[in-house]
Symmetry: D2
Subunit: 98 residues, 4 copies
């Protein structure tokens, strides 16, 4: 099982993930994306859906029109693990320019 | 433009939409769905995406794995209109049994 | 790696998968689904997309409005393997009633 | 109802749509896209799904892993109309770089 990462490791990893923040109280990583419109936002959500199933790791996602907010957390350990960072990195690749 | 509906009309309409509630303070309709797993939840979200574009009316959606929460509101009028009820009815048809 | 199945095993397996046929020349399994409309068809396609990534096994899919045709084949072995049957069974579960 | 366009108008319009061809015998416009992987292809398919419902105009789509082939035709008139060109232009915007 993935281990819960200490805050220092998370902070170091986030230096390479601009836009992402660590919510210490919530024990999760967070990022919001703003797309051009709903169509583009949904194109991103569809990629996120496929990535989640591939990695067997699921985010909490909130969408309103062109806005997408993502929260990543590993519920089994009540915090952030390498799996959350891996999914965050994959999302950055898929949302280039946003 | 769609008109903001009075609470009495919303309450009457919701009698035919079990599971949906009216959030007076938030000025929106709400419903949560629990699906079998993420795959099924995403099948519903995809239908919801297509319906939103068809109707040119967009919800606020939160998803975590098999859970989908929907909030419907007409932002132009700061409340609930016939367009929200129409989308709620369409969702009920698409999520039969959940 | 999954092994190519002999025709006799495929035929036996298809007895439990009504609607699916084995295309001997094409070396694939086939099924067509007709949904109520595009929205419902897309709900199925979205589930299929998620299943494909989860299983790391991809179909050939053709869609026009409410029609979805699926072809399953394991390209590495040039024929049908247990992986194709597993995906076919998963699709049947997701498309109940169609 | 949209009118069937003569070949000369279609040819002129396609000059601004590199990658698209006119299939005279089939009475349709065609283009194939190759994406990086299935995830990216599905992100495009999801945008296409939303656009189709918004425009109430549906394509014939074939997908295998990272490959997406699109055929556009207006069935009511048995040929290509302005609606097909509009959808083709919208797809080009959404698939920039592919």
């Amino acid at each position: 099982m993935a281990e819960r990462l200490p805050e220092s490791e998370i902070t170091t990893a986030l230096a390479a993930l601009p836009g992402w923040t660590y919510d210490l109280a919530g024990g999760c990583l967070k990022r919001s994306y703003t797309f051009r419109d709903f169509v583009e936002a949904f194109g991103f959500l569809a990629q996120l859906a496929a990535l989640q199933e591939r990695m067997n790791h699921h985010a909490t996602i909130t969408n309103t029109y062109a806005q997408v907010a993502v929260q990543l957390s590993t519920h089994d350990v009540g915090g952030v693990t390498e799996r959350d960072l891996t999914l965050a990195r994959a999302l950055e690749e898929r949302a280039l320019g946003h």
